[in-house]
Symmetry: D2
Subunit: 441 residues, 4 copies
Amino acid sequence: MIDIEELLKNEIPKHMLKRASVTLRAKLKPIRLLIEHRRVPEKGWDDDVIEFFLTLLSWMDTDKDPEGAQVGEREARVASQLVYNLAHGFCHGVGRSGNLTAPQPKAVGSSLAYLLTNRLALDMLQRCGAPNLNSTCVLPLATGMAIGLSVSVARSESKKHVVIYPRVDHKSPLKGMQLAGMNVKTVEPEVDGDAVRTSMKKVRKAIDAKTAAIVSTTTFFPPREPDDVKAIAKLAAEEGIFHIINNAYGVQSRQIMKLIQGAIDAGRVDLIIQSTDKNFLTPVGGTILASPSPRLIEKVSQAYAGRGSAAPIIQFLAALLSLGLDGYERLRNEQEINRQMLEEHVKRVADKHGERLLDVFNPIAVAMTLNQHEAKKVGHYMYTLRVTGPRVLEETDFGICCRRYHSPYITVNAAIGSTKEDIQSATSALEKALRHTRKYA
Amino acid sequence: MIDIEELLKNEIPKHMLKRASVTLRAKLKPIRLLIEHRRVPEKGWDDDVIEFFLTLLSWMDTDKDPEGAQVGEREARVASQLVYNLAHGFCHGVGRSGNLTAPQPKAVGSSLAYLLTNRLALDMLQRCGAPNLNSTCVLPLATGMAIGLSVSVARSESKKHVVIYPRVDHKSPLKGMQLAGMNVKTVEPEVDGDAVRTSMKKVRKAIDAKTAAIVSTTTFFPPREPDDVKAIAKLAAEEGIFHIINNAYGVQSRQIMKLIQGAIDAGRVDLIIQSTDKNFLTPVGGTILASPSPRLIEKVSQAYAGRGSAAPIIQFLAALLSLGLDGYERLRNEQEINRQMLEEHVKRVADKHGERLLDVFNPIAVAMTLNQHEAKKVGHYMYTLRVTGPRVLEETDFGICCRRYHSPYITVNAAIGSTKEDIQSATSALEKALRHTRKYA
Amino acid sequence: MIDIEELLKNEIPKHMLKRASVTLRAKLKPIRLLIEHRRVPEKGWDDDVIEFFLTLLSWMDTDKDPEGAQVGEREARVASQLVYNLAHGFCHGVGRSGNLTAPQPKAVGSSLAYLLTNRLALDMLQRCGAPNLNSTCVLPLATGMAIGLSVSVARSESKKHVVIYPRVDHKSPLKGMQLAGMNVKTVEPEVDGDAVRTSMKKVRKAIDAKTAAIVSTTTFFPPREPDDVKAIAKLAAEEGIFHIINNAYGVQSRQIMKLIQGAIDAGRVDLIIQSTDKNFLTPVGGTILASPSPRLIEKVSQAYAGRGSAAPIIQFLAALLSLGLDGYERLRNEQEINRQMLEEHVKRVADKHGERLLDVFNPIAVAMTLNQHEAKKVGHYMYTLRVTGPRVLEETDFGICCRRYHSPYITVNAAIGSTKEDIQSATSALEKALRHTRKYA
Amino acid sequence: MIDIEELLKNEIPKHMLKRASVTLRAKLKPIRLLIEHRRVPEKGWDDDVIEFFLTLLSWMDTDKDPEGAQVGEREARVASQLVYNLAHGFCHGVGRSGNLTAPQPKAVGSSLAYLLTNRLALDMLQRCGAPNLNSTCVLPLATGMAIGLSVSVARSESKKHVVIYPRVDHKSPLKGMQLAGMNVKTVEPEVDGDAVRTSMKKVRKAIDAKTAAIVSTTTFFPPREPDDVKAIAKLAAEEGIFHIINNAYGVQSRQIMKLIQGAIDAGRVDLIIQSTDKNFLTPVGGTILASPSPRLIEKVSQAYAGRGSAAPIIQFLAALLSLGLDGYERLRNEQEINRQMLEEHVKRVADKHGERLLDVFNPIAVAMTLNQHEAKKVGHYMYTLRVTGPRVLEETDFGICCRRYHSPYITVNAAIGSTKEDIQSATSALEKALRHTRKYA
């Protein structure tokens, strides 16, 4: 680039020059190291360094060329400086007609940013507990659409149209599968004690000659428990069908990542979907698609139709660089502590108000019965108290993931990025809510 | 909001107070008018006013609540200030699980921005030549994916799986249709003089009992001509099949918008797809889906799986406000002048170098034969001369949209936002390229 | 710095790599040229390039050192990111205790920015019409304070305390001289026809053994005419006294810069003061102090007490880079055209309403009598019509620069940066005002 | 302003509307409270709220009026958007010709920002320990220039030209006094044990009929101790002379603010000067001038010549709002803890290396002898180790504030804003330096 220190020569005393050079080099050092190692940095970067790096990258796209002539129908022209800023200069988007991850001749900087993002995403997932992954692609789509893309690959590879889906009451994945033209065969979970759990027996039974894939799920609200992805992986291997894991917000949890790792080792896992926002504190809009198989990632990348906004990619890249590995591990530690604290707080509230914690495995959220209270009112009350995120469900509501649950309940999360204060305020709001919503005897 | 002028009372002489108030109100006036009329402003806004407005909207989302407690798994938390800025504070994305355009309780500001964007998009398209449109939805997806969503609605409404597609050699639309699980029956265009043109006879013949939809195209590189969307609309009406128009960059052209208007009036047009970036100078990543039928827009919105990045929406909103109606009409006028100039320039170059203009209808681009030159080398030469956008094709290349074309050729665009200088540089580069690539006799 | 293109190797096809490199280098080229030539660029820079350059410079200051330990009482610590941004990272200010332009060991980047600014300022003034200048220093002070500093140097060099000041009714210069502990001997101008003009005879007469300096003025509102700086320069040379020219907004005018050049060639000119904001479209707060004598600039720099805000320096640097020489000449051309237009418009209005233009030399402003109208009301009326800048004065008001002027009058400016529209609106407002303020017969 | 919530009506469900409104109001609440109370907020504001507030204020200046016509010679025109941003839109500067704090008719927003800044500055100093202050003015000048302005008022009020200055080896204050045309009579401090201390006897003796003022000092490097400002205040009262206190970085220290309060109560204190950057973590360039007498603040404001950059004012305003009272008290607590820690660390190092702490009162810095080491080399060594701020002085260096000191020494600061890490790194670097610079026996 530019040897700006040259400017100093003869103008500034030599020892000062040297000192300035030391500082400038120290600021630029993280960029240099990233280029050399292409791994998530241990220590997160300052925002100004990230911005500088993004600027350099974006200045490699042809729309920045002051001497270029642009006579295509799509040349990343923008209506105003603000519009440019809203994209931080990445105006070409990502992807080409034929392949989402192919480099764009007009947008080498964007391509490079994307390539790097995909490398760092893989590095991050490997270091977060799944070293047996081999390829990732960050999609400019949220998880539901990403599931759609994934099953479409299963369809085109298998020439079959049925997906087996252990029931999770979340519309997006279902819509993604339907968008891809698949028929979804839902497998009803069973209630075992407090847990709502997928029956492996039923899953096995659901498979037939038309089955293209199973879509399993690791993260959902309690009392729905994570699927036994290891057992499903074995089954998928035996039956020769695709296995796609919706690991929506599982990267934050070491326990869940261990399940993923185990599943890959034990059987067949084709594609794993995770949200950028729920795991890595980015704005909504991106998915990290991962796989032990680079070929499959390539297939999905080729199935994507056209280009996409660069925003989810760049936001995720910035988030990774900002957090660094240390920052992310710190957040995961806090999450574990907060999850523990949440359980204790909710238990205390439950004990006091004649309710009880549901006894369910879930490393992120906690659920409590609402037998003695008017469930819906609890929810409204908390919304009014400016608590966002808790869900209140009654026995047959959409969301219970089974035909009928034994009690109404409320779930509260201690997800990554939540603070101690969030949890304290929420549980004290919960207590307030319970005090005002007790059923008459 | 805040009556900041109160602060002035007793502190500043009264006549100054009055003057300051006049200025402040004048700055805020565009926002006030937008709220009242919900139409694209005649005069474009200054960037600082747009930014201010976006800030106000984003401050209505719950993640901004300084006194809120956030205990959901997705709460629009962000890794750093930079990540926040990259989304201009719209961190919740757009959409809900069930419906892309449904308001999000946690993100009323984002919802409002989206709602407004959709209103303005409709207003804009109506004023750009298609007053018979009745609903629009700006999708956080580029056009190929949007075509996928559209045909998926055709499929679920018709329960049929075949799309008839008058051939256009562009991978994204095809991939979009395949992603949606459709079988695509391509109709081969015919070469008529210089024009590569869809044969209505062949289209009619292709329709059968399995046909869900026809996907027609208005904008592509010459010599491929726009489809006769009016005739196709009549045919679709007769046959009771969906008609989806890929109007990728047609909004910029008054002629093409007249075709759209005519098609809607004459027959059946269900959904019309247009790019935000190619028509409205936004970064890549958004589509304006339009329809005479609000019900169908609603259907597509419900078919979308989950949430999406708010970036393409906000970028498009900012672009519309920045341009204003006047600004857009000015750009369209320039485009027409530039298109005329391009034709004259290219004709002159062709005459001089033993080539000729292809005689094809196309309001945006121009094509010229390359019979006397080494076609591929012309392309490389221009790339080296920093000209982006021209395409060089030989007789059987992907891109010619027919089995075999009579000559190799080069296409150059005078698309909206191109400048006179772009066109002059490009044509003088073309001339230079021709001088160096003449075939030996 | 960083060889970011290295990252591309093996990742991106070679011809793309080359193209990206061409673009990146083209973006950085202006910086490279500036470093080599240290002259105002012909063509103005884009804002993003200026910002990038400022970032690089600011990253050379020790407060940016991620590995530094800061244990001084002043270490450019900032309260928040916003505070940092408000200074664009130049938090150390400019100057050292002993010398405003001495490099700061802790702030080499700031020092470098300052050094460069001073170089470019000299280059600009030379090319703007005064090639016989030899040194400049941009002060973080407006012109009144700069005059104070300048006369303080005259005092300390001459050991005398009296300044002769051909009367200009502007408080700042007077206050500046008083602040420096000088006694100001005002020389009353004479009214000659319409012009209010300094009498050289009176100036000569005012000089005595206590005289340290004359402060002359080139730019003020008509009917006060510019001082004959050439004659004063000759006189100062003869008498061996300092001559300081307040050339507040004279750089914009080729005619006035010619006067400056002539004065330097003909006699003694020690220091020349010009506003950064009035000449170069920066925010208020800076002065370009210029001199044929580097020694004197050094003296003023040493007389300045301590450090100062870097903001006026950086703003001026950014303005110069943004305008470029071409941009500035374009603005000066427009100013000349607008000045001509203003005269024509005001003349037409005057003719129509029984007033007349004052016949006075002034390359920036125009004045018109207000004999037939209620002068003060004209001023208020125009303020209400949102016209800022015109001044209305009656026969003995402060501002007329003489004991009594023959008529009330209004002045209007066509200063650099004003637009045609400004002048048209202002003159049409003037006409409206006159219609409503005519005196009764 | 704008009732943006109106837009929501009929578009968004009512309960969502209510929730959005709650969030928006919570974001704007700090602004509302500031307007009502005009006091430093207890809790610091988020940067985005400060920015929003600054935008609103700046939008009251006439240069923002989209319908205004600007025909003055100074209209806050700017060369580019970047130049505008560098001033955050406050392009008119602060001040008028006649009075720094007078409201500007063209710049009511800037005036208001300035007025508010002065109010908050007074509130802050009162709450920081000097409730007996009655007026403040934040000057767009660093402290040396502010001292110049202050003594110029003493001169014009007293008609005398001599300032008595208990010696402090800092060039800026001296230069400020000289700039104002004063003769400075320096009073040599005495060495008492380790302390370098002003002798009240000598000060008293220095006063004579020509004395306009005493300038005392509270903060400097040890072994120079703070002046006994109470005794000086009494003396000034007795003698009827001005007393100006240079309290450069004393606001951070509760002990020193107590001295100030005591001096005001006990005798005569006219003006007190404090740095914005050293006390409130702003970029260099501002001074808080304070006084028990509003009349005197007004006088200084009138003595200032013209306008000044708004940057130091806006930066200080932003810093105050960002810190809040709580934030500032937290920083002061940390400073006290760090100061204690620094002493302990340096003592340990001294003990180990045959040096000793100087026994001097100083609430911010610590000094240690360098008898066994090569003093100058210690300084260079630490600079190389990237430690900024320590000063090494030998027996007769400028900086010792007396004729000859008994030992060479090094001073290190634990100033406000320094971190624990700074102090640990610096003391460990000190140890390293000592190891390498021991004198040979």
